[in-house]
Amino acid sequence: MAEILVIAEQRDGAFRSASLEAIAAAKSVKGGDGKLAVAIVAADPDALVGDVSVEGVDEVIAIKAGSNDFQPDLMEAVVAALAEARQPALIVAAHGVDAWSYAPVAAAKLGFGFASDVQALRYEDGELVATRAGYAEKVRVDLDFPGKEVVLVTIRTNVFDPAGGAGAPTVTAMDAPACDVSTAHVGWKQPEDAGGIDIPGSDFIVSIGRGVGDESKVEQFLELADQLGATLGCSRPIADNGWLPKARQVGQSGQLAANCRLYIAMGVSGSVQHQWGMKHVETIVAVNTDPEASIFSIARYGVVGDMFEIAEELENHF
Protein backbone atom coordinates (compact mmCIF):
# COMPACT_ATOMS: atom_id res chain seq x y z
CA MET A 1 0.00 0.00 0.00
CA ALA A 2 1.47 3.34 -1.02
CA GLU A 3 1.67 6.24 1.32
CA ILE A 4 -1.16 8.69 1.97
CA LEU A 5 -0.15 12.28 2.45
CA VAL A 6 -2.25 14.91 4.23
CA ILE A 7 -1.44 18.59 3.78
CA ALA A 8 -2.34 20.24 7.08
CA GLU A 9 -2.79 23.99 7.31
CA GLN A 10 -2.14 26.90 9.62
CA ARG A 11 -3.30 30.48 9.36
CA ASP A 12 -1.07 33.15 10.84
CA GLY A 13 0.63 30.42 12.89
CA ALA A 14 -2.60 28.97 14.33
CA PHE A 15 -3.41 25.37 13.42
CA ARG A 16 -6.55 24.92 11.29
CA SER A 17 -8.60 22.21 12.89
CA ALA A 18 -10.32 21.25 9.60
CA SER A 19 -7.01 19.50 8.87
CA LEU A 20 -7.99 16.91 11.52
CA GLU A 21 -11.02 16.11 9.37
CA ALA A 22 -8.73 15.66 6.36
CA ILE A 23 -6.64 13.26 8.47
CA ALA A 24 -9.82 11.37 9.41
CA ALA A 25 -10.75 11.10 5.72
CA ALA A 26 -7.28 9.78 4.92
CA LYS A 27 -7.57 7.24 7.74
CA SER A 28 -10.89 6.03 6.31
CA VAL A 29 -8.98 4.53 3.36
CA LYS A 30 -5.70 3.68 5.06
CA GLY A 31 -5.05 -0.03 4.78
CA GLY A 32 -3.65 -2.09 7.66
CA ASP A 33 -0.10 -1.88 6.35
CA GLY A 34 -0.52 1.61 4.90
CA LYS A 35 1.40 4.67 5.96
CA LEU A 36 -0.06 8.07 6.71
CA ALA A 37 2.17 11.15 6.67
CA VAL A 38 1.01 14.66 7.53
CA ALA A 39 2.89 17.70 6.26
CA ILE A 40 2.62 21.13 7.82
CA VAL A 41 4.25 24.28 6.45
CA ALA A 42 4.99 27.14 8.88
CA ALA A 43 7.68 29.51 10.10
CA ASP A 44 7.92 27.38 13.23
CA PRO A 45 6.48 24.02 12.19
CA ASP A 46 7.67 22.28 15.36
CA ALA A 47 5.08 24.28 17.29
CA LEU A 48 2.34 22.59 15.27
CA VAL A 49 3.63 19.01 15.28
CA GLY A 50 1.63 18.26 18.42
CA ASP A 51 -1.62 19.37 16.76
CA VAL A 52 -1.33 16.73 14.04
CA SER A 53 0.23 13.94 16.12
CA VAL A 54 -3.06 12.09 16.40
CA GLU A 55 -3.75 8.40 16.37
CA GLY A 56 -3.10 6.78 13.01
CA VAL A 57 -0.53 9.33 11.84
CA ASP A 58 2.79 7.57 11.21
CA GLU A 59 4.93 10.54 10.30
CA VAL A 60 4.77 14.31 10.56
CA ILE A 61 6.75 16.24 7.97
CA ALA A 62 7.55 19.59 9.56
CA ILE A 63 8.34 22.01 6.75
CA LYS A 64 10.02 25.25 7.68
CA ALA A 65 9.05 28.27 5.64
CA GLY A 66 10.27 31.87 5.77
CA SER A 67 6.97 33.07 7.26
CA ASN A 68 3.47 31.93 8.16
CA ASP A 69 2.01 33.78 5.17
CA PHE A 70 -0.17 31.78 2.85
CA GLN A 71 1.57 31.64 -0.52
CA PRO A 72 -0.22 29.49 -3.09
CA ASP A 73 2.99 29.15 -5.12
CA LEU A 74 4.82 27.82 -2.09
CA MET A 75 2.10 25.29 -1.25
CA GLU A 76 2.17 24.06 -4.85
CA ALA A 77 5.95 23.66 -4.69
CA VAL A 78 5.57 21.72 -1.43
CA VAL A 79 2.99 19.39 -2.98
CA ALA A 80 5.23 18.85 -6.01
CA ALA A 81 8.32 18.15 -3.90
CA LEU A 82 6.51 15.73 -1.57
CA ALA A 83 4.80 13.94 -4.45
CA GLU A 84 8.19 13.47 -6.09
CA ALA A 85 9.94 12.31 -2.92
CA ARG A 86 7.17 10.14 -1.47
CA GLN A 87 5.19 8.91 -4.45
CA PRO A 88 1.91 8.94 -2.49
CA ALA A 89 -1.14 7.35 -4.09
CA LEU A 90 -3.40 9.86 -2.37
CA ILE A 91 -2.96 13.43 -1.16
CA VAL A 92 -5.67 14.91 1.08
CA ALA A 93 -6.36 18.47 2.21
CA ALA A 94 -9.31 20.26 3.82
CA HIS A 95 -11.64 22.03 1.36
CA GLY A 96 -11.01 25.46 2.86
CA VAL A 97 -10.41 28.72 1.08
CA ASP A 98 -6.61 28.22 1.17
CA ALA A 99 -6.87 24.83 -0.54
CA TRP A 100 -9.18 26.39 -3.14
CA SER A 101 -6.18 28.53 -4.11
CA TYR A 102 -3.52 25.83 -4.41
CA ALA A 103 -5.01 22.32 -4.69
CA PRO A 104 -6.51 22.59 -8.22
CA VAL A 105 -3.38 24.41 -9.35
CA ALA A 106 -1.08 21.64 -8.16
CA ALA A 107 -3.35 18.93 -9.55
CA ALA A 108 -3.58 20.54 -12.99
CA LYS A 109 0.15 21.28 -13.16
CA LEU A 110 1.26 17.86 -12.02
CA GLY A 111 -1.35 15.82 -13.90
CA PHE A 112 -2.90 14.29 -10.78
CA GLY A 113 -6.35 12.83 -10.47
CA PHE A 114 -8.47 15.44 -8.68
CA ALA A 115 -11.76 15.90 -6.87
CA SER A 116 -12.83 18.80 -4.65
CA ASP A 117 -15.35 19.04 -1.81
CA VAL A 118 -15.30 15.29 -1.26
CA GLN A 119 -17.60 13.76 1.39
CA ALA A 120 -16.55 10.10 1.29
CA LEU A 121 -13.61 8.01 0.09
CA ARG A 122 -13.33 4.29 -0.45
CA TYR A 123 -11.71 1.65 -2.61
CA GLU A 124 -13.91 -0.37 -4.97
CA ASP A 125 -12.09 -3.35 -6.49
CA GLY A 126 -8.79 -1.67 -5.77
CA GLU A 127 -9.83 1.65 -7.33
CA LEU A 128 -10.19 4.86 -5.37
CA VAL A 129 -13.73 6.29 -5.47
CA ALA A 130 -14.58 9.77 -4.15
CA THR A 131 -18.14 10.94 -3.50
CA ARG A 132 -19.17 14.58 -3.89
CA ALA A 133 -22.45 16.45 -4.41
CA GLY A 134 -23.87 17.90 -7.61
CA TYR A 135 -26.71 20.08 -8.90
CA ALA A 136 -26.93 22.25 -5.81
CA GLU A 137 -26.64 19.29 -3.43
CA LYS A 138 -29.53 17.43 -5.06
CA VAL A 139 -27.48 14.46 -6.33
CA ARG A 140 -24.39 12.52 -5.31
CA VAL A 141 -21.61 11.72 -7.75
CA ASP A 142 -19.09 8.90 -7.38
CA LEU A 143 -15.86 9.74 -9.17
CA ASP A 144 -12.94 7.51 -10.06
CA PHE A 145 -9.55 8.38 -11.49
CA PRO A 146 -8.59 5.99 -14.29
CA GLY A 147 -4.90 5.83 -15.04
CA LYS A 148 -3.91 8.32 -12.33
CA GLU A 149 -1.05 7.27 -10.06
CA VAL A 150 -1.55 10.18 -7.71
CA VAL A 151 -4.96 11.53 -6.72
CA LEU A 152 -5.44 14.80 -4.82
CA VAL A 153 -8.73 15.39 -3.03
CA THR A 154 -10.06 18.17 -0.82
CA ILE A 155 -12.47 17.19 1.96
CA ARG A 156 -15.71 18.98 2.83
CA THR A 157 -15.75 20.29 6.39
CA ASN A 158 -18.16 18.98 9.04
CA VAL A 159 -18.49 15.56 7.43
CA PHE A 160 -15.68 13.54 9.03
CA ASP A 161 -15.28 13.52 12.79
CA PRO A 162 -11.92 15.16 13.47
CA ALA A 163 -9.15 12.61 14.06
CA GLY A 164 -8.08 12.51 17.69
CA GLY A 165 -6.33 10.38 20.28
CA ALA A 166 -2.63 10.45 20.96
CA GLY A 167 -0.31 9.21 18.27
CA ALA A 168 3.43 8.76 18.27
CA PRO A 169 4.53 9.69 14.76
CA THR A 170 8.11 10.08 13.71
CA VAL A 171 8.94 13.68 12.88
CA THR A 172 10.91 14.61 9.79
CA ALA A 173 12.19 18.14 9.45
CA MET A 174 12.46 19.70 6.03
CA ASP A 175 13.07 23.14 4.56
CA ALA A 176 10.41 24.51 2.24
CA PRO A 177 11.49 24.19 -1.38
CA ALA A 178 12.82 27.32 -3.00
CA CYS A 179 10.28 28.93 -5.29
CA ASP A 180 9.27 32.28 -6.73
CA VAL A 181 6.12 33.65 -5.17
CA SER A 182 3.79 36.03 -6.95
CA THR A 183 1.69 37.13 -3.98
CA ALA A 184 2.57 39.06 -0.85
CA HIS A 185 0.65 39.29 2.42
CA VAL A 186 -0.30 42.85 3.34
CA GLY A 187 -2.64 42.48 6.30
CA TRP A 188 -5.92 41.21 7.70
CA LYS A 189 -9.38 42.70 7.73
CA GLN A 190 -11.48 41.50 10.64
CA PRO A 191 -15.24 41.07 10.25
CA GLU A 192 -17.32 44.11 11.10
CA ASP A 193 -18.55 44.67 14.61
CA ALA A 194 -21.78 42.73 15.20
CA GLY A 195 -23.56 45.73 16.70
CA GLY A 196 -25.23 43.64 19.40
CA ILE A 197 -26.55 40.95 17.05
CA ASP A 198 -25.59 37.62 18.52
CA ILE A 199 -26.03 34.67 16.16
CA PRO A 200 -23.45 32.47 17.93
CA GLY A 201 -25.11 33.00 21.31
CA SER A 202 -28.72 32.64 20.28
CA ASP A 203 -30.55 29.41 21.07
CA PHE A 204 -33.46 30.12 18.69
CA ILE A 205 -32.92 31.46 15.17
CA VAL A 206 -35.39 32.18 12.39
CA SER A 207 -33.42 32.55 9.19
CA ILE A 208 -34.47 33.92 5.82
CA GLY A 209 -32.91 33.25 2.43
CA ARG A 210 -33.36 34.51 -1.08
CA GLY A 211 -36.90 33.16 -1.06
CA VAL A 212 -37.82 36.46 0.64
CA GLY A 213 -37.43 37.95 -2.83
CA ASP A 214 -37.48 41.64 -2.06
CA GLU A 215 -35.99 44.04 0.46
CA SER A 216 -39.40 45.40 1.41
CA LYS A 217 -40.40 41.95 2.67
CA VAL A 218 -37.55 41.66 5.14
CA GLU A 219 -39.12 43.85 7.83
CA GLN A 220 -42.02 41.46 8.44
CA PHE A 221 -39.57 38.67 9.28
CA LEU A 222 -37.71 40.90 11.73
CA GLU A 223 -41.10 41.41 13.38
CA LEU A 224 -41.93 37.72 13.23
CA ALA A 225 -38.61 36.76 14.84
CA ASP A 226 -39.24 39.34 17.54
CA GLN A 227 -42.70 38.03 18.22
CA LEU A 228 -41.43 34.46 18.43
CA GLY A 229 -38.54 35.45 20.70
CA ALA A 230 -36.00 34.40 18.11
CA THR A 231 -32.95 36.05 16.56
CA LEU A 232 -33.31 36.74 12.85
CA GLY A 233 -30.55 35.18 10.75
CA CYS A 234 -30.07 35.13 7.00
CA SER A 235 -28.25 33.55 4.12
CA ARG A 236 -25.47 35.28 2.31
CA PRO A 237 -27.31 36.91 -0.59
CA ILE A 238 -29.51 38.81 1.89
CA ALA A 239 -26.42 40.25 3.59
CA ASP A 240 -24.60 40.84 0.28
CA ASN A 241 -27.59 42.86 -0.92
CA GLY A 242 -27.40 44.94 2.22
CA TRP A 243 -30.94 43.95 3.25
CA LEU A 244 -29.65 42.79 6.64
CA PRO A 245 -26.31 43.38 8.36
CA LYS A 246 -23.53 40.84 7.78
CA ALA A 247 -23.63 39.96 11.49
CA ARG A 248 -26.89 38.12 10.79
CA GLN A 249 -25.37 35.92 8.08
CA VAL A 250 -25.18 32.26 9.00
CA GLY A 251 -22.56 30.12 7.33
CA GLN A 252 -18.97 29.58 6.38
CA SER A 253 -18.17 33.20 5.67
CA GLY A 254 -20.53 34.46 8.36
CA GLN A 255 -21.52 33.18 11.77
CA LEU A 256 -21.69 29.75 13.35
CA ALA A 257 -25.00 29.21 15.16
CA ALA A 258 -22.99 27.65 17.96
CA ASN A 259 -25.61 27.59 20.71
CA CYS A 260 -28.72 27.24 18.62
CA ARG A 261 -31.23 24.52 19.50
CA LEU A 262 -34.06 25.46 17.13
CA TYR A 263 -33.39 26.81 13.64
CA ILE A 264 -36.21 27.71 11.29
CA ALA A 265 -34.93 28.21 7.75
CA MET A 266 -37.37 29.96 5.42
CA GLY A 267 -36.60 30.32 1.74
CA VAL A 268 -33.07 29.00 2.24
CA SER A 269 -31.94 26.31 -0.24
CA GLY A 270 -29.35 24.73 2.04
CA SER A 271 -26.06 25.32 0.22
CA VAL A 272 -23.03 23.65 1.78
CA GLN A 273 -21.73 27.04 2.93
CA HIS A 274 -24.98 27.87 4.72
CA GLN A 275 -25.15 24.40 6.26
CA TRP A 276 -21.65 24.93 7.66
CA GLY A 277 -23.16 27.36 10.14
CA MET A 278 -26.28 25.45 11.21
CA LYS A 279 -26.24 21.78 10.16
CA HIS A 280 -25.39 20.70 13.72
CA VAL A 281 -28.53 22.29 15.25
CA GLU A 282 -30.66 19.69 17.01
CA THR A 283 -34.01 20.78 15.58
CA ILE A 284 -34.01 22.30 12.12
CA VAL A 285 -37.31 23.28 10.51
CA ALA A 286 -37.30 24.05 6.79
CA VAL A 287 -39.96 26.03 4.94
CA ASN A 288 -39.35 25.94 1.20
CA THR A 289 -41.47 25.82 -1.94
CA ASP A 290 -39.07 23.34 -3.60
CA PRO A 291 -39.61 19.83 -2.18
CA GLU A 292 -36.16 18.82 -3.46
CA ALA A 293 -34.31 21.70 -1.75
CA SER A 294 -31.33 20.23 0.06
CA ILE A 295 -32.26 21.97 3.31
CA PHE A 296 -34.88 19.22 3.74
CA SER A 297 -32.11 16.59 3.85
CA ILE A 298 -30.84 18.00 7.15
CA ALA A 299 -34.16 19.20 8.61
CA ARG A 300 -36.12 17.45 11.33
CA TYR A 301 -39.40 19.01 10.21
CA GLY A 302 -40.28 20.31 6.78
CA VAL A 303 -43.05 22.42 5.32
CA VAL A 304 -43.23 22.41 1.53
CA GLY A 305 -44.83 25.77 1.04
CA ASP A 306 -44.68 29.53 0.82
CA MET A 307 -42.73 31.31 3.57
CA PHE A 308 -45.04 34.35 3.50
CA GLU A 309 -48.20 32.34 3.97
CA ILE A 310 -46.65 30.31 6.77
CA ALA A 311 -45.24 33.43 8.45
CA GLU A 312 -48.59 35.18 8.35
CA GLU A 313 -50.42 32.24 9.91
CA LEU A 314 -47.67 31.67 12.46
CA GLU A 315 -48.07 35.19 13.85
CA ASN A 316 -51.58 34.32 15.00
CA HIS A 317 -50.21 31.77 17.46
CA PHE A 318 -47.90 34.10 19.42
Binding site: V97, A108, A133, G134, K138, V141, T183, F296, G302
Partner: protein, 261 residues
Amino acid sequence: MKILVAVKQVSILDDEFEMRDDGRGVDADFFEKDLNEFDHFAVEEALLIKEAAGEGAEVVVVTVGDDEADDALRTALAKGAERGIRVWDDSLAEVDSIAIAKVLAKVVEREAPDMVFTGAQSADFGHATTGMALAGLLGWPHAAVVSKLDFVPGAATATLHRELEGGLEEIMTIQCPAVLSIQLGINQPRYASLRGIRQAKQKPVEELDLDALGLGGGAVTSASRVRRMYAPEKGQAEIIEGTVAEQAARLAEIIKELRGI
Protein backbone atom coordinates in the same frame (compact mmCIF):
# COMPACT_ATOMS: atom_id res chain seq x y z
CA MET B 1 -6.31 46.59 -22.08
CA LYS B 2 -8.28 43.41 -22.11
CA ILE B 3 -9.96 41.37 -19.39
CA LEU B 4 -11.07 37.85 -20.20
CA VAL B 5 -13.95 36.46 -18.14
CA ALA B 6 -14.78 32.76 -18.24
CA VAL B 7 -18.50 32.17 -17.79
CA LYS B 8 -20.47 28.98 -17.33
CA GLN B 9 -24.03 28.14 -18.20
CA VAL B 10 -25.08 26.14 -15.12
CA SER B 11 -27.82 23.53 -14.92
CA ILE B 12 -30.69 24.00 -12.50
CA LEU B 13 -32.61 20.83 -11.74
CA ASP B 14 -36.38 20.79 -11.85
CA ASP B 15 -38.27 20.06 -8.65
CA GLU B 16 -38.64 16.51 -9.91
CA PHE B 17 -36.10 14.76 -12.08
CA GLU B 18 -35.06 11.36 -13.37
CA MET B 19 -31.64 9.83 -13.76
CA ARG B 20 -30.30 8.78 -17.13
CA ASP B 21 -30.51 5.08 -17.98
CA ASP B 22 -26.74 4.65 -17.69
CA GLY B 23 -26.88 5.91 -14.08
CA ARG B 24 -24.15 8.47 -14.71
CA GLY B 25 -26.17 11.64 -15.08
CA VAL B 26 -29.55 13.31 -14.89
CA ASP B 27 -31.90 13.10 -17.88
CA ALA B 28 -31.42 16.35 -19.85
CA ASP B 29 -35.19 16.94 -19.96
CA PHE B 30 -35.12 17.95 -16.30
CA PHE B 31 -32.84 21.00 -16.42
CA GLU B 32 -33.06 24.67 -16.91
CA LYS B 33 -29.92 26.61 -17.80
CA ASP B 34 -28.73 29.94 -16.52
CA LEU B 35 -25.56 32.01 -16.25
CA ASN B 36 -23.71 31.00 -13.07
CA GLU B 37 -24.52 33.46 -10.28
CA PHE B 38 -20.84 33.97 -9.40
CA ASP B 39 -20.08 34.89 -13.01
CA HIS B 40 -22.42 37.89 -12.84
CA PHE B 41 -20.03 39.31 -10.24
CA ALA B 42 -16.94 38.42 -12.32
CA VAL B 43 -18.40 40.10 -15.42
CA GLU B 44 -19.39 43.18 -13.39
CA GLU B 45 -15.91 43.50 -11.91
CA ALA B 46 -14.41 43.38 -15.40
CA LEU B 47 -16.89 45.97 -16.68
CA LEU B 48 -16.13 48.34 -13.79
CA ILE B 49 -12.40 48.15 -14.51
CA LYS B 50 -12.99 48.66 -18.22
CA GLU B 51 -15.23 51.66 -17.65
CA ALA B 52 -12.68 53.25 -15.34
CA ALA B 53 -9.92 52.63 -17.90
CA GLY B 54 -11.84 54.33 -20.72
CA GLU B 55 -11.04 54.12 -24.44
CA GLY B 56 -9.43 51.01 -25.85
CA ALA B 57 -10.40 48.74 -22.98
CA GLU B 58 -12.18 45.51 -23.77
CA VAL B 59 -14.02 42.75 -21.90
CA VAL B 60 -14.10 39.38 -23.64
CA VAL B 61 -16.27 36.55 -22.34
CA VAL B 62 -15.53 32.92 -23.05
CA THR B 63 -17.48 29.78 -22.39
CA VAL B 64 -16.91 26.11 -23.06
CA GLY B 65 -20.32 24.72 -23.86
CA ASP B 66 -22.79 23.62 -26.50
CA ASP B 67 -25.14 26.06 -28.25
CA GLU B 68 -27.30 26.37 -25.13
CA ALA B 69 -24.33 28.18 -23.56
CA ASP B 70 -24.74 31.03 -26.06
CA ASP B 71 -27.31 32.54 -23.71
CA ALA B 72 -24.64 32.91 -21.04
CA LEU B 73 -22.47 34.86 -23.48
CA ARG B 74 -25.41 36.98 -24.65
CA THR B 75 -26.26 37.87 -21.05
CA ALA B 76 -22.71 39.11 -20.51
CA LEU B 77 -22.66 40.93 -23.85
CA ALA B 78 -25.95 42.63 -23.00
CA LYS B 79 -24.37 43.97 -19.82
CA GLY B 80 -21.53 45.49 -21.81
CA ALA B 81 -18.87 42.93 -22.72
CA GLU B 82 -17.43 43.57 -26.20
CA ARG B 83 -17.32 40.09 -27.68
CA GLY B 84 -17.72 36.41 -26.91
CA ILE B 85 -15.95 33.17 -27.64
CA ARG B 86 -17.65 29.80 -27.43
CA VAL B 87 -15.62 26.62 -27.65
CA TRP B 88 -17.37 23.34 -28.21
CA ASP B 89 -16.82 19.80 -29.35
CA ASP B 90 -19.09 16.87 -28.58
CA SER B 91 -16.14 15.09 -26.98
CA LEU B 92 -16.32 17.68 -24.15
CA ALA B 93 -19.80 16.59 -23.02
CA GLU B 94 -18.54 14.49 -20.10
CA VAL B 95 -15.23 16.11 -19.19
CA ASP B 96 -14.38 17.54 -15.76
CA SER B 97 -13.33 21.04 -14.73
CA ILE B 98 -9.60 20.35 -15.14
CA ALA B 99 -10.28 19.48 -18.78
CA ILE B 100 -12.33 22.67 -19.18
CA ALA B 101 -9.34 24.56 -17.77
CA LYS B 102 -7.12 23.00 -20.47
CA VAL B 103 -9.42 24.39 -23.14
CA LEU B 104 -9.59 27.80 -21.47
CA ALA B 105 -5.79 27.89 -21.21
CA LYS B 106 -5.54 27.79 -25.01
CA VAL B 107 -8.04 30.63 -25.30
CA VAL B 108 -6.05 32.71 -22.81
CA GLU B 109 -2.87 32.07 -24.81
CA ARG B 110 -4.63 33.25 -27.97
CA GLU B 111 -6.16 36.34 -26.38
CA ALA B 112 -3.25 37.35 -24.14
CA PRO B 113 -5.45 39.37 -21.74
CA ASP B 114 -4.18 41.60 -18.93
CA MET B 115 -6.30 39.75 -16.38
CA VAL B 116 -8.53 36.67 -16.26
CA PHE B 117 -11.58 36.37 -14.01
CA THR B 118 -13.67 33.31 -13.21
CA GLY B 119 -16.43 32.81 -10.69
CA ALA B 120 -15.34 31.45 -7.28
CA GLN B 121 -17.41 28.36 -7.96
CA SER B 122 -20.21 27.13 -10.14
CA ALA B 123 -23.62 27.09 -8.49
CA ASP B 124 -24.47 23.60 -9.79
CA PHE B 125 -21.36 21.55 -8.98
CA GLY B 126 -19.33 23.91 -6.80
CA HIS B 127 -16.00 22.48 -7.89
CA ALA B 128 -14.15 25.74 -7.22
CA THR B 129 -11.55 24.25 -9.53
CA THR B 130 -11.65 25.63 -13.06
CA GLY B 131 -10.12 29.06 -12.52
CA MET B 132 -7.24 27.95 -10.35
CA ALA B 133 -6.50 24.92 -12.55
CA LEU B 134 -6.38 27.34 -15.46
CA ALA B 135 -3.80 29.43 -13.60
CA GLY B 136 -1.75 26.31 -12.92
CA LEU B 137 -1.71 25.33 -16.58
CA LEU B 138 -0.73 28.86 -17.61
CA GLY B 139 1.79 29.27 -14.81
CA TRP B 140 0.10 32.57 -13.89
CA PRO B 141 -0.25 34.19 -10.46
CA HIS B 142 -3.60 33.36 -8.90
CA ALA B 143 -5.91 33.98 -5.98
CA ALA B 144 -9.24 32.34 -5.13
CA VAL B 145 -12.35 33.86 -3.57
CA VAL B 146 -11.48 37.49 -4.23
CA SER B 147 -13.92 39.80 -2.45
CA LYS B 148 -12.28 43.15 -3.24
CA LEU B 149 -9.96 44.19 -6.03
CA ASP B 150 -7.90 47.25 -6.74
CA PHE B 151 -6.45 46.87 -10.23
CA VAL B 152 -5.32 49.65 -12.51
CA PRO B 153 -4.74 48.27 -16.01
CA GLY B 154 -1.09 48.37 -16.89
CA ALA B 155 0.12 48.17 -13.29
CA ALA B 156 2.55 45.38 -12.43
CA THR B 157 0.65 44.38 -9.30
CA ALA B 158 -2.92 44.47 -8.02
CA THR B 159 -4.15 44.57 -4.43
CA LEU B 160 -6.96 42.26 -3.43
CA HIS B 161 -8.88 40.80 -0.53
CA ARG B 162 -9.21 37.06 -0.24
CA GLU B 163 -12.33 36.16 1.70
CA LEU B 164 -11.57 33.50 4.29
CA GLU B 165 -13.67 31.53 6.73
CA GLY B 166 -15.74 33.37 9.35
CA GLY B 167 -15.75 36.68 7.48
CA LEU B 168 -12.00 37.27 7.92
CA GLU B 169 -10.27 38.74 4.88
CA GLU B 170 -6.64 38.67 3.87
CA ILE B 171 -5.26 41.64 2.01
CA MET B 172 -2.56 40.74 -0.47
CA THR B 173 -0.77 42.01 -3.53
CA ILE B 174 -0.45 39.89 -6.63
CA GLN B 175 1.62 40.18 -9.80
CA CYS B 176 -0.27 40.76 -13.04
CA PRO B 177 -1.50 39.30 -15.27
CA ALA B 178 -3.24 36.91 -12.91
CA VAL B 179 -6.21 34.58 -12.73
CA LEU B 180 -8.64 35.61 -10.00
CA SER B 181 -11.76 33.76 -8.90
CA ILE B 182 -14.41 36.28 -7.94
CA GLN B 183 -16.62 35.98 -4.86
CA LEU B 184 -20.28 36.93 -4.43
CA GLY B 185 -20.82 40.42 -3.05
CA ILE B 186 -17.62 41.98 -4.48
CA ASN B 187 -19.91 44.43 -6.32
CA GLN B 188 -23.58 44.90 -7.27
CA PRO B 189 -24.01 43.28 -10.67
CA ARG B 190 -26.01 45.41 -13.09
CA TYR B 191 -29.02 44.25 -15.03
CA ALA B 192 -28.83 44.42 -18.79
CA SER B 193 -30.81 47.33 -20.26
CA LEU B 194 -33.23 46.73 -23.12
CA ARG B 195 -30.83 48.62 -25.33
CA GLY B 196 -27.98 46.40 -24.14
CA ILE B 197 -30.00 43.30 -24.92
CA ARG B 198 -30.70 44.58 -28.43
CA GLN B 199 -27.06 45.50 -28.99
CA ALA B 200 -25.87 42.12 -27.72
CA LYS B 201 -27.51 40.46 -30.70
CA GLN B 202 -25.12 42.34 -33.01
CA LYS B 203 -21.97 41.67 -31.01
CA PRO B 204 -19.53 39.08 -32.36
CA VAL B 205 -19.41 35.58 -30.90
CA GLU B 206 -16.61 33.46 -32.28
CA GLU B 207 -17.22 29.72 -32.33
CA LEU B 208 -14.19 27.52 -32.03
CA ASP B 209 -13.68 23.78 -32.07
CA LEU B 210 -10.82 21.94 -30.48
CA ASP B 211 -8.80 21.72 -33.68
CA ALA B 212 -8.83 25.49 -33.95
CA LEU B 213 -7.15 25.60 -30.54
CA GLY B 214 -4.65 22.87 -31.39
CA LEU B 215 -6.39 20.51 -28.98
CA GLY B 216 -7.63 17.88 -31.43
CA GLY B 217 -6.97 14.18 -31.15
CA GLY B 218 -7.90 13.59 -27.53
CA ALA B 219 -5.57 16.20 -26.02
CA VAL B 220 -8.23 17.28 -23.52
CA THR B 221 -8.16 14.73 -20.74
CA SER B 222 -9.96 14.83 -17.38
CA ALA B 223 -8.59 14.31 -13.89
CA SER B 224 -11.64 12.28 -12.84
CA ARG B 225 -14.50 10.31 -14.33
CA VAL B 226 -18.09 9.96 -13.21
CA ARG B 227 -18.63 6.39 -12.14
CA ARG B 228 -22.23 6.88 -11.07
CA MET B 229 -24.70 9.60 -10.13
CA TYR B 230 -27.68 9.08 -7.83
CA ALA B 231 -30.18 10.81 -5.61
CA PRO B 232 -28.96 10.93 -2.00
CA GLU B 233 -30.83 9.09 0.68
CA LYS B 234 -33.72 11.21 1.87
CA GLY B 235 -33.19 12.85 5.21
CA GLN B 236 -35.36 12.14 8.21
CA ALA B 237 -37.48 15.26 7.79
CA GLU B 238 -41.05 14.81 8.92
CA ILE B 239 -43.06 16.69 6.32
CA ILE B 240 -45.89 18.67 7.88
CA GLU B 241 -48.94 18.26 5.67
CA GLY B 242 -52.31 20.00 5.61
CA THR B 243 -53.65 23.46 4.85
CA VAL B 244 -51.42 26.45 5.50
CA ALA B 245 -53.32 27.12 8.74
CA GLU B 246 -52.83 23.54 9.88
CA GLN B 247 -49.15 23.58 8.96
CA ALA B 248 -48.60 26.83 10.85
CA ALA B 249 -50.50 25.52 13.86
CA ARG B 250 -48.32 22.43 14.01
CA LEU B 251 -45.22 24.58 13.59
CA ALA B 252 -46.35 26.80 16.47
CA GLU B 253 -46.87 23.68 18.58
CA ILE B 254 -43.32 22.49 17.85
CA ILE B 255 -41.88 25.90 18.70
CA LYS B 256 -43.85 26.15 21.96
CA GLU B 257 -42.94 22.65 23.00
CA LEU B 258 -39.23 23.14 22.35
CA ARG B 259 -39.21 26.60 23.94
CA GLY B 260 -41.20 25.42 26.95
CA ILE B 261 -44.03 27.95 26.48
